[in-house]
Amino acid sequence: MANSFFENIGRSVIEGVEYLGGLTIQFGRGAVGVTRLNPWRASPLRWKTTVRQAAIVGVEALPVVCLIAGFVGLIMALQGAYELKKFGALHFVVSLVGVSITRELGPLMTAIIVVGRSGSSFAAEIGTMSVTEEVDALRVMALEPVDFLLVPKFVAMLVMMPCLTIAADTAGILGGAAFTWMSLGMGLRAYLSTTVEVLLLRDIVTGLIKSLAFGMIIVQVGCFEGFKVRGGPEGVGRATTKAVVQSIFLIIVADLAFTAFFYVFWS
């Protein structure tokens, strides 16, 4: 009984280390691949795929990201007002929303939406290709699957995540404005100028740095799960689920690490 308990712990530790190891190796290959995707040497096909991926990952996600971030901004304002009203400090809602959206909720909500939209589809796409031997076919054609499949998504994500995050920040702040307009009668111009006053460039930059890290996690985990698929269609389904769960877990861990780091070294 006790033996199998420790065995299980040991096994899951080994599996975890193996997983992170595999992910790191793939990350390294992907990073090298990105450097090879320069406009002078790479084939135009890769660029076309990259631009198409950017459209799918970024542009198509824009409406839903803005809508959700706007709601989250409104929710933050309502929740903050509930407590701040007791102190008669309702006007602090502006800075509360501004800071929490740019530093934390903007990048995080964006990442979670992108995991659901793109992380899962990366895993499903590459997983299906693994099952139908398309990944093997790439290898036999002397095309490295990481370069061919992962790198365009990687570049697209690195460009689009900060853009989406800026859009989410804007939408979230406007969501807060909707609350102050209705409850305090504060105009949009007054709201925005207060927000600009309280926000530091640092708040926005830390959020964008986080969003880059989240984007890397989404691409790497999604593709990693896809490449790992063996067997049949049920493997693809499992990979999709795992990609989403693992990505969200790693995103939260990375979020914690970055937040702690910025708190200690940059405040």
Binding site: S43, L45, E133, E134, D136, A137, V140, M141, A142, L143
Partner: protein
Amino acid sequence: MSGEAIIQVRNLITGYGTRTILNGLSLDILAGETMVILGGSGSGKSTLLRNIVGLERPTSGEILIKGVDITRCSRRELDEVRKSMGMSFQGSALFNSMTIGDNVGLPLREHTKLAESTIKVMTRIKLEQVGLAPCENYLPSQLSGGMKKRAAVARALAMDPEILLFDEPSAGLDPIVAAGMDDLILNLKRAFQMTIIVVTHEMASAFLIADRVAMVDKGRLLTVGTLEELQKSENPRVRQFLDRVPDAVSTDEQAFLERLVR
């Protein structure tokens, strides 16, 4: 036919986990010949093919292709060797998001600096060779199984390979379409100086296309030789395969009962 070995497999041992698939297999494939690798399901013939194209690394042994040991060489060297090989997969493995024409042109677009118009022409030449010229702008999902396999052959031919490999070319095809695939392989054999390797379990197509046949059974090479040599073989396993005799079913009742209650 030149007599030089273009592929030399030496003492190949492979396995997944603790299960051994290939157990010390050695085989020479000569330049310009059509070698059919025959074997039942689970005999290790597909594993042998996957090792030859470097999709799997063996536990031990070596595979020399044009003098390069692909089990030990670097990625770059392996990719150089692969550019002289084309493979048609069992399930065709066409890229579903690309048209047939783009599938065939992909290796050219990625590996050569040819102008787009040249690539278009070359793509059409390859599609003509497999009889799929009108299907250039179709997606793989719009083609039948046999047409997909032909398209996969066109893609394998794109880089004008020295070695062409087929994994179960007739699997899942009706006899007429399968015969068409055999014809296609024969035509390619006649038209080009290519080395062709076909993995199959279809005796009929083996007899039609092969210069030499290698028979793989339980991870070992049973026999290798010309068709006449194969038919004269006295080896009981070879005879069993040629005469379509099933494996004897064990009738040990005691062992059977023990297996049930274990």
